[in-house]
Amino acid sequence: MKHSQLWLLALLSILTFMTASTVMASEDAAHVSGSWELGMSGINTDDNAARVNEYGSVRAEDGIALAPKLDMEFKNGGFVLEAKSETMGPRDQMHEIGIDAARIFKYEGELNVLEHHKDHDNLEHLGATMQGDIDGDQPRVFTNATKNPEQYAWELDQDYIVTRREWKNEAELVIPQLSNITFKAGARIETREGMEQAIALSKCSACHIEANPKEIDERTEEYTLGFTGKFGLLTVDYEYLTRDFDEDAGEPTYNYWSSGKVRTGSADVDNLNYAGEELEYNKTPDSEKDSHMIKARVDLPRNTSISASYVKADIDSTKEEDADVYTFVDGNTLSSEFESFALKGATRIGDLRLSIRGNTYEIDGPEYSVNFTNRVDNVDFDHDGVADTVNNTLDNPQHYEAAESRDVTEFGLDGVYRLAHYTTLRLGYEYEEIDRVEEEHLGSTETSTYKVAANTRFGKGLNANFSYEYQDIDEPFKGAHVGIAQDHPDATIIGDLAYLMTADYKDDPTDGVDNTDPLADGNTTKVYYWNSVYPSRGLESTSEPDAVQEAKFSTTWAAAPNMALTAYARVRFEENDAVKYEQNTYVPGVSFWFAPSNKLNLTMAYNFNKQETENRMCVGWYHG
């Protein structure tokens, strides 16, 4: 199907080009202008090239390269051909071509090649917590630096570089007999090749973290067909898009070490699904997307317009399966749907420009079940040598529902009022409601945004802009109600926080309350992470703010024709009292342009960015 679309686009282009050339033949003489350069580029790096040559100018390795450039325009009557090409090295290229054939056919093509040094985490920072474990047998978070030094050294020696190529094509056709309709077609092919770092952790929380190189061989093909039609006051846009994403590289493998720990007569390894095995991870699924988008706009008298749009998209994601590890019960292709309606109206009433808009969209993510081949019931969770049967049955197959599934409603109102000749005042309000299908766990978020902005000019050389925005967010994503201690009747309040004490998980025969097994997990004697730390989480789990304020200011002063000073600042305050979160951001800056003579231009700029974050956190400890 994709090949037939390409051939259709090519055939359409050739026919139109021939038609347009015939029209042009009788017009003005041809004219060519532009420039070319033939040069050499080179790079030499010392030490680590990852930052000084992060976006591979010239090339990733030291050396020289042929570096030709071309900038050309050819005009012949109504025909215009523009070409621009810059090659600094094999992985640093840009090529553009544009054709305008008597405005009947237009084509723009662009090819970009870019090489990027990717981040390479050495995993050392993972030893920041619990490196001096009181058990003394191991750091609680460890990597192959201790478990497999040879693999660790080999991985550190890898270069993670990805080359991205993107080829974009857009064509427009206007048939003279149907001049109110512009037919459009597009094609985009993007490839990513190279290697990235893939980090994985073990089955038992973060006991063992390992990094491996992951080959990247991705190809995205995207094709669009559509039209823009003008029918009197009505303008209609339609676009069909189909996109395929394929990943052809192999996956890295992770070594699931076999735990030798024995607790109360029970070996960890007896409870593990994967021990002493090397399994694939970090698989990127292939996916397909098809969407239809239609927009309509009616332009009415008195600067009034009404526009509406509808978008429908279907996405299929094909997951990998491994019969020895997991399989999908109803097929390994998971489907999502997206559907959106939007309506907007704008008008002018005297000096007031008013717009109102509403939008609603639904994401219907996949529901699916996964069968874990080695999962069994009645595991010896408390290591007492006896398989547990109380509250100890894991679902198999396990059912999952996508967290992305949601209904979203948005509404906005904007007013711009001209206070004086060079002064405008803008007031705005936006409302967003996100109803997540998994509302019980993920919550439902409501956001109200209030905006005020002013723009003015003080005489010829000085102007200023100011804006302020306040957001009130009710129940920000995510997981608002996961704290077990939340609203618990036995919770103890320390400061502002609610805590459950470990003692609450042991029966006090004098209190008349039988809480020998408050979690009903069959564990009445031991103090573990899940019956001591998890229950004490009294705070909501979100890391998002529930109140945001942001102010921006900028002013430009052109003191003389040969100089201009611009000063600007952005200040943002985020907070969420429920989780004791606060983040303040300050971004002031200044730029100055000065041309002391016709021969000299000077530009100076200074930017400052400061961000302070304060929050509570729970640093995990693990005991294998």
Binding site: E37, H125, V527, N598, R616
Partner: protein, 119 residues
């Protein structure tokens, strides 16, 4: 900062300098944190809940680096159409801490030389 200078009718020079400094730090405030209590069991919560167990977060989070980029270039027009151009850039990256990405110190010199023709 950057400068563009028309030195003569045939020679144009340009230069730029960019400096970037970034740092990040983390501070614990253990004193303001309530502690858990534990009675019996296989481990004592209090033993896990000490400065000694987590103090490395402070030093591991002290990230800092500096970047310098200096560019010099020029174009000489032999005639109205025929010219030559040259540009050189020297980049320096100095990382003062290397807990996340290792030692990223590096220097790079990249250059471009060409002859060109306008038509």
């Amino acid at each position: 900062m950057s400068a563009d200078y028309q030195a003569s009718e045939k020679l144009n020079l340009d230069a730029s300098f960019v400096y970037n400094f970034a740092e990040y730090s983390w501070d614990w405030e253990f004193d303001s944190r309530p502690t858990l209590t534990a009675a019996g069991g296989s481990k004592t919560i209090g033993a896990y809940d000490t400065w000694d167990q987590n103090d490395l977060i402070d030093s591991y989070s002290d990230l800092s680096y500096e970047q310098y980029s200096i560019t010099l270039g020029g174009t000489y027009n032999f005639t109205d159409a025929f010219y030559t151009t040259m540009q050189g850039t020297y980049d320096i990256f100095e990382s003062d801490e290397e807990y996340v990405y290792g030692d990223e110190d590096g220097k790079a010199f990249s250059g471009y030389f060409a002859v060109g023709y306008k038509f």
